[in-house]
Symmetry: C2
Subunit: 454 residues, 2 copies
């Protein structure tokens, strides 16, 4: 599941038809493609890169097996020699990318492929799909983290993510962004993410009395019980939880927490905190859930809600206010007959792209805080930290894929260095991304050339 | 991939902790759960059921293997006897569901599980995730179909769906809803959906001249070429396409189409149509793409765009204006000590549920058009077509899973019988769903009982 094998046909048909044309007309041509986000969603002021591990594994394992080739043959589209080529297909190009957990902005390539144009084209759909999902979720989750101001945050999104892949990647991406764990057991197993959970309303309803359900659960998990208190009457639910808390305490155990999933979370959490404290149960944590996101969490905390941990589901796991990114994959150079790379760009209105092999340079101040980025040509001498690093060299992985916890640490450091104004739930500041002199000049000249040529 | 094996741990941790409690306290208790959508998204006036095939396969193949049990053991949460139980786990309950392609509304169970409470609980997360994704997409796609007024519509969403599972299911769900095909080759292979594609801007840019790229492609696929005409200058692009069209015609071939992906689609399509017709190329189709959805398609057609086929991507594949459904899974009855089913319900404010074992009855007029639905108790005598049918009986599939084309036909028939006012892009009519006398009475009495009991 993590190796991304068997996904060779997860591509748009045109990748293969174009590949066959390239095979016949431009077999030896190489090209560079940039993967970037054209414009940020309205409520995003920055993005957090995620998805590279999947891409590295996909690219290394990409093979077309017998069954896949047979299916393609039946389409009456492909030539025999192209099918023979696909049978032996290996990705042998280079990939430069920002590490997962890096922060980036519109127009900045988060990933750059230089390969035989036919290979670069065949991997396009998977690359876009992967960066789109995982970066979108990490970028939403990190906003939840900022709004939560140090409180615990858990991914509860599984039941309403867009499918199983999204569920697993939502757990992974939100953990990178700083979440404390997930309810998704499979994601926990695959990525060693801490798993967490409470109980459902149906559980409470399966017993005659609410208290019976609380007793059953806390007897089964005496040190790991979080009681859901709002199935019938929230006040009585909290009273019942207090009873259980006292009972467990007598036995030398600790009730872990209670959960509020509906109603006025501010009022109920304040009441619950008072009732628990009065019963000498100040160690019992209060969890809140139910359509939470960064906007709602910020509001709850502003109003003084006594919540220790948030369970965040659908809104984060679908990035509900921005359920896709404007990710694109654009050719920026291609070799001529002599194998020399020549820059290229798209001219059509409102969709003009930046030509040439580019790098993103981040300018930091003395305290390592982000000041501005420069989008320039790779060969330009620009001071600042280059953000794209070489991951795949001639098809081989030359980058040590970091552990999830390393990525998470890197994300935290990046977040700390990001201007505070960008981390607001309603940001009013736009981070400066400057186009370098060299790139501006190239674009001007090339635009003129291309217009004349067509 | 279609058998849904290996997904046993794709569940929320609490399903397993609750299951362990049930194992110790209510091992023999059976319960009924309803899966339904509490409220429809703002821009939806009806939903189209999808996802049942995956659920049927998942439920039948659900096993916890050695590796999964080992992982669970390490969590220090589960008892040895419960782990032994899980090793031998089989779903042995009943599932009633609406067939895929059925139309349904808020509060109506689209699926109903009656099983040992422990089994019903363990399958919850997968059921919700599956119905959520596939029903959401089918329900968006069918709106696109209505707006397209008989034009061809193709799924181009792969690159920006929320992950690989969503990509595959978007192709399947949109095909059910009436789409003509998909660009997603893997979905085409898995589900025998027709696959389609054109060319990318990068392909045009990979050649010195636009015309060179058109020539290369049309020579490779002389009868299957759709030329993308807006890479540099759309007018010149259409002129070049006309040249290719004439050239192919001389050779006895037919240019399939041209594609417009940006700019003023109405104006460009009218111009392209005129230019093609003047060149005696009236058989050449015009494709449009680029952030299309039902709203935009309706507007394009209203303004007289000369478009024959629409490529619909991100907006459909993520259901962008409603990227999740308010799907829930609620217990409605549970057995007492004697094995007798007793109805139950949730009382907490704004989230009250309907108790008892229910059925949805659809009242049709003489011409088979939908008049209203009645949500009632299964045992009530209500005239009207019952929508929930038995799919799984004691763990065995007792329903012949229809082919995708059969489902598609069923969906088309249903759509034809739905009141026209509901099919508007901006619907102003709410379909009547009536609560039966028996159900209203049960709810009233039970609500009173439960309030007293707690």
């Amino acid at each position: 599941m993590k190796d991304n094998k068997g996904l060779a046909l997860l591509l748009d048909l045109y990748e293969l038809t174009m590949a066959q044309c390239y095979f016949h007309y431009k077999k030896d041509a190489w090209a560079t493609f940039d993967l970037f986000v054209r414009t940020l969603p309205q409520s995003r002021s920055y993005l957090m890169a995620a998805g590279l591990e999947d891409i590295a594994n996909y690219v290394r394992n990409l093979r077309f097996n017998y069954e896949e080739i047979s299916y393609l043959r039946k389409q009456n589209l492909f030539s025999r020699d192209f099918m023979e080529y696909l049978k032996k297909f290996r990705f042998k190009g280079d990939i430069w990318a920002m590490p997962e957990g890096e922060i980036f902005f519109a127009d900045e390539p988060v990933l750059r492929v230089t390969a035989a144009v036919i290979e670069a084209q065949i991997i396009e759909s998977f690359l876009l799909n992967t960066i789109n999902l995982q970066t979108m979720i990490a970028s939403k989750a990190v906003r939840v983290i900022s709004a939560s101001a140090g409180k615990g945050v858990y991914d509860f999104s599984l039941r309403r993510t867009q499918g199983s892949d999204a569920a697993i990647k939502a757990a992974r991406s939100s953990y990178i962004a700083g979440f404390n764990g997930t309810s998704n057991v499979l994601a926990g197993k695959l990525y060693r993410i801490p798993i967490a959970g409470t109980m459902a309303h149906s559980f409470v309803m399966a017993f005659k009395q609410e208290l019976d359900s609380f007793l059953a659960y806390s007897s089964t998990f005496p040190d790991k019980t979080i009681l859901l208190v709002d199935t019938y009457n929230t006040k009585k639910g909290i009273e019942n939880a207090v009873k259980i808390g006292r009972y467990l305490k007598e036995k030398g155990c600790r009730l872990l927490g209670i959960r509020l999933d509906s109603g006025d979370i501010v009022a109920w959490s304040k009441l619950a905190r008072r009732m628990l404290d009065r019963a000498s149960l100040s160690f019992v944590k209060i969890f809140a859930s139910g359509n939470l996101d960064e906007f709602r969490i910020r509001e709850l905390l502003r109003l003084g809600a006594k919540v220790d941990n948030f369970g965040v589901g659908t809104h984060m796991g679908t990035s509900i206010d921005a359920p896709c990114l404007d990710v694109i994959y654009k050719i920026s150079e291609i070799t001529d007959e002599n194998g020399k790379f020549l820059p290229t760009m798209k001219l059509s209105k409102a969709k003009v792209t930046y030509p040439g092999r580019k790098q993103v340079f981040r300018i930091l101040d003395k305290r390592q805080r982000f000041v501005k980025d420069v989008l320039g040509l790779e060969k330009e001498r620009i001071k600042g930290r280059p953000l794209l690093i070489k991951v795949i060299d001639k098809g081989k992985l030359v980058y040590k894929l970091p552990t999830l916890n390393k990525i998470r640490d890197f994300a935290r450091v990046n977040l700390a260095r990001l201007p505070a104004a960008l981390k607001e739930v309603y940001p009013k500041y736009k981070y400066p991304v400057v186009i370098s002199k060299g790139l501006r000049k190239l674009r001007r000249n090339l635009s003129y050339q291309l217009e004349r040529r067509q």
